[in-house]
């Protein structure tokens, strides 16, 4: 024991953590946005597609969900450029990886949501003369979104936490900032206490915001 807490060095290098947190959020937001598009398109496609397309989408989902994210991050950053003629920075590479990764998780969320939309609603849409496209936009997707919001919030929060893996390819996000302070000041306990608090606080603020959105849409019934 005999470890005296001293946060001075942490505050002196706080920009590493603060800037890191902002980058973490940026990585999360961009990846989730791209992942949501992938997820929505593939989920809508899946529920109306034939067997072959379903099998391909399922293969994508199962493969990504059963492989460690850190391996995918390495694969895209160190592996992919050796076989295709591409050059990208570490943050771009990570966004690419996390987008594909979140896409796989979001396909599942949206797909189960689409399947939970009551049949009667679609029939009603047909009855009042909506075209298939209008039924999708005005009936199916809004109902699906309402059903999936709680699961969606959880997935978003967990993807935000997954941005910490970007530190393994030296993207200067929050975890990387924490490690930098760890190695350079040796105020180990302090830096991880502060980092923990920052992740927790951000996570709960995000969760609170998402719960507000959920409540708003639940009330709209």
């Amino acid at each position: 024991m005999g470890y005296a807490l001293n946060f001075n060095l942490i505050w002196r290098h706080f920009d590493k953590l603060w800037g890191g947190l902002l980058l973490s959020l940026e990585l999360a937001v961009i990846s989730i946005a791209i992942g949501t598009v992938i997820g929505l398109v593939l989920a809508v496609w899946y529920v109306s597609a034939g067997r072959t397309v379903r099998a391909i989408i399922a293969a994508y989902v199962e493969f990504i969900r059963n492989v460690p994210l850190i391996l995918l991050v390495y694969l895209v950053f160190y592996g992919l450029p050796t076989v295709v003629d591409l050059a990208y920075s570490a943050p771009t590479s990570f966004v690419l990886t996390l987008s594909v990764y979140s896409g796989a998780y979001l396909v599942e969320v949206f797909r189960s949501g689409l399947e939970a939309v009551p049949r009667g609603q679609l029939d009603a849409g047909k009855a009042i003369g909506l075209t298939p496209w209008q039924r999708l936009i005005h009936v199916r997707l809004p109902t699906m979104l309402r059903i999936t919001l709680p699961a969606l919030s959880n997935t978003f929060i967990s993807l935000f936490k997954d941005t910490s893996i970007a530190s393994v390819i030296s993207v200067p996000e929050l975890t990387f900032g924490a490690q930098w302070i760890n190695f350079n000041t040796f105020r180990i306990v302090e830096v991880y206490l502060v980092t923990t608090a920052m992740y927790l606080l951000t996570g709960y603020i995000l969760l609170f915001g998402l719960r507000l959105v959920e409540r708003r849409f639940r009330a709209a019934r």
Partner: protein, 216 residues
Amino acid sequence: MASQILYALPFLAKGFAVTLWVSLLVVTLSLVAGVLLGVGLVYGPAPLRWTVRVFSDTIRGIPILVLMFFVYYGLPAIGLHLPSFWAAVLALTLFKTAQVIEYLRGAVASIPKGQSEAAMAIGLTFRQRLTYVIFPQAFRRFLPPWINGVTDAVKGSALVSLLGITDLMQAINQVIGRTYEAMPLYILGALIYFAVNYALSLAARRLERRFAFIRE
């Protein structure tokens, strides 16, 4: 290329064994700790309930990577020296324990209140109520998500590579360091992880279907 990878196979197998060993330890230890703390969360006195709640919400609110660095670098700083292997296992176990607590809480909460009231009415003690009434029913709800969660433990174990432990992930990186065959080796690694986890998730799905007859 093929011969180099073939040559590396025994080394990768050794790493794979470490991955399985870490996963097994984490899964077993967290099962014990998680069930005990979960029972504490559901039935314990208020101070215990609050402690477990704070523990679980804190652990689940931060990335595993941060937790792992905290434990790995933090323990020696306060004078506790664990070999890096055990520090890594401890960190992963803490994380998994928080998940097991939530599975258990969810499973117990899904059992209708009438069940424990009925058990109380026929004069069963607390322990008897748990052993003969609540747990046999809650078990069926607990098992499928828990097995699904085992795949998380296997995936999470890849992070121990960052602490210099030669698991499958680290073995792959080391072979790449020697051979520069990045893509084939990462794909091989991905396939190995996939095979293990996919088998586990299939098992979870089968169990879920088997237990689906349980009424809400």
